[in-house]
Amino acid sequence: MKFKNHILLIKNICFVALVITIGCTYSPTEKYINPISPPYPNPSDTIQVDINSFNNGSNAPSSYFMLGGANFFYKLQGPHQRIKNYLVTIDGNGFSTGQNLGDGTMNLFIDPRTLTSGTHTVVITITTDTDTGSLADLLGVEAYIITKSFNIIIDKIPPDAIPNPTLTIENGFLTMKWSAFNKSNFYLHVIRSYWKGNTTVLLPDTTLLTSATSYVDKGYVGGKVTYSLALSGVDFTVYYDIDFDFDGLPTSITKGTNEVAQISWGQPTVGLYSGVEVTQASGTQQYEAKPNTVQGDTLALGGSVSATVTLKSAVNALQNFDKVVTLSSAKNLPAFSNIWAVPTQKKFIMQLQGSPSNTYRYDFSTGAKEDSLANIKQLQVSPDGQFGVANINSQYIQINPLDFSQTITITDWTNFNYTLVSVSNNKFVSIIDPGSNIAAFDLAASATQASFWTNANPPILSDDGQYIFINGWGDVYFNTHPTWPTSWPKIGKAQATCPSFGYPGVFYFRNGGTSELLAMCTNGIQVYSLGSSGISLARSFIFNVPSWFSTTHQVASYIVPGYDQATQTIWFETKEATNNNSTLWLYDVSTFKYKGKATALSINDQHILSNGYQFVSSGYYQKIL
């Protein structure tokens, strides 16, 4: 082989080696091809974004005028894949993804106060899976992107001011009228405030169209109200207030027979009403809404009765019209501390409250004040009214109560701190000295002391001065010698049976001391027969009503029973559970037969039955027997 041939062979071998190296090196060509189909190109053809549940989303408005914070609900309609992401932008700025309410529904709250006035574009972008299973899908880079946009319009400038609305009754209904507004960028409400005394009750707001110029309230039936026309927009609230008051139910209260109140009302004239309700201390009654007069509670002497007459609205109970009427006893006396009846003279003498104070004399039948005596510090009047002892300007003076003439100054009494207790027709007078000792003086003979007891309670003289009762021990003394010098031998002991320990009871000489001594307590009475040589229990009686144990007519321990000689009536006072007033229970002193009862003002007043008249110390009196 020639050298050239060797060279050629080597070249060929190198060429073959190069071809082998380059061309015959293993290079895989196999592929795994997944024959899946690509997703549909335009998902918006089949998937809709539903805004605020407008059908299929396509009917949703393209613009929303916002009057306040609002929720936008959006979700995909039609068959769609799993939702991957929501994105909301306003004017291109990221805003919120909203709140996922489940079931693919998202809630987007937009507060227009955070935006400026004008038109803003909201774009909702919803990304869903394609679920094709492709490589891009598996890697999360293949998705359907569905967008929905709409505009929101915000206007923060309120409409021009209008003249104040009017509130009048037209065609039987309360009617509010106003001028039309030049804008509609607000909610329009009517706010109704009903005055109940010094407070107001708000009724639920009424929302009106912004184009409205009137509002008729058919539920108003009367009363003081404040109606407000409220404009509520974005970043502004404007009120137009107007007050109105109307008596929807003319009502009166008068005193009928037996002190029973009469409540009357007329025909309602405004609104839709459903009836009249009368509420008193005794309860509530329903009536038709037409003119009527009904019986009210009984007026207590010195007291008052009050009734709330409610005209009920047929629309809303909060619109009921309450009319309160009150009937009070008219004062027919000054307030007094002591009173003496003089039946034979048809007079009563009354010492006013305070010390010293004036003393008046009245005519029973006419109630006319006849005379007065000033600067009375103490006064006691005999049962027949012919004689009295008074402490005037620190002097004890015998007076004639029937003309208030001052007859004799008692110069023998040097102690000016006696408490005058009792005066008899024959001018005996019993007193308590500052040492709690008691004494009796015969002023008909002289002012000399007639008798004396130490450390005793107020002595009560019989009208004729024959007996004196020393309270506390129940001892009764008889004046065996009605003229000076005299003595008072003890003739017996009379005691009341009181349920309250330590309370001695109250004692009266019946008929001026000629027959019986009444030992009374708060729930009963013992009657003793009187004689010159002794006393004996004649009869006794315990009352069921009033009762010490009653829950409705309870006798208070501090309330004294009383005796009216003129009408032969004994009386007991109870405190009524319903109204805390007093009731006087009247019984015949001879038979204990119930004679009736009389109501009176507060239990705190002093109540006296005298000569058939009920007197109340706060300044009232009336004839009850």
Binding site: M1, I20, T21, Y26, P28, E30, S134, L135, L138, V141
Partner: protein, 235 residues
């Protein structure tokens, strides 16, 4: 060092002896063990599936032809010489759909050179049966290409690495002498001592999988070869 020693032995043995020189080219069918590469491929497959990439193994280091060129001296029943070889294989993980494709290729090729010894077992000059032993060094190169394309975006990465193995390949040859030329066919099995792969960019650090295993190119396997050679010089 070992390959250099074997070449030196051949040269010393035969350069002093008279004989015929020959050159020979061979084409072979090669099988490969490649268990380490297959493990690496499985690791890539698992991690890709965990990343939602649904790769599938479409090629896993198949048998592939190899090429060699050798030359030497023949004297009596003995022959010896040197040889150069080349072969390749690879693996592929692949997924493709309308949205793109993902692919992970492991391409391996190697060059080998070494010495061989051959002994004629029969006396027939037309048909001779020979025993042959090849010794030498294998320079392997690994190219790891990973490509992910979705839509118009493509991410790709590649890794080039190299390793050195030593081989020992005994075999039986059947030769038909055709004047100055000869045809030769044979069967042999190659055993290798495996070296770690080192990145071309970081030659000092052996490559490991995430589980800590080193990777190797295991070219071990059956070799079925056919070749043609010619003798040079006088007969």
């Amino acid at each position: 060092m070992k390959s250099r020693l074997s070449v030196a032995i051949v040269l010393v043995s035969f350069c002093t002896a008279a004989g015929q020189v020959f050159i020979q080219g061979d084409l072979s069918y090669n099988t490969f063990d490649m268990s380490s590469m297959k493990d690496l491929q499985q690791t890539i497959l698992t991690s890709s599936q965990q990343a939602n990439i649904p790769l599938s193994a479409v090629s896993s280091f198949p048998s592939y032809p190899g090429y060699s060129l050798s030359g030497g001296w023949i004297r009596n029943r003995m022959a010896a010489g040197i040889s150069f070889g080349y072969t390749s294989t690879g693996g592929r993980l692949d997924y493709e759909d309308y949205s793109g494709y993902a692919r992970a290729d492991q391409l391996l090729h190697c060059f080998s050179y070494g010495s061989f010894f051959q002994y004629k077992l029969n006396k027939n000059d037309s048909w001779s049966v020979n025993a042959k032993l090849n010794l030498g060094t294998v320079f392997s190169h690994l190219t790891e290409n990973e490509t992910l394309r979705v839509g118009s975006q493509t991410n790709s990465s590649s890794l080039d690495a190299h390793s050195i193995n030593y081989y020992f390949r005994p075999g039986i040859l059947l030769r038909r002498n055709l004047g100055r030329g000869f045809l030769e066919g044979g069967v042999s099995y190659e055993f290798q001592i495996h070296g770690k792969f080192y990145s071309d960019g970081s030659p000092s650090a052996a490559i490991q999988t995430s589980s800590g295993k080193y990777i190797y190119s295991e070219w071990d396997g059956l070799r079925l070869s056919i070749g043609y050679g010619i003798t040079l010089g006088k007969r």
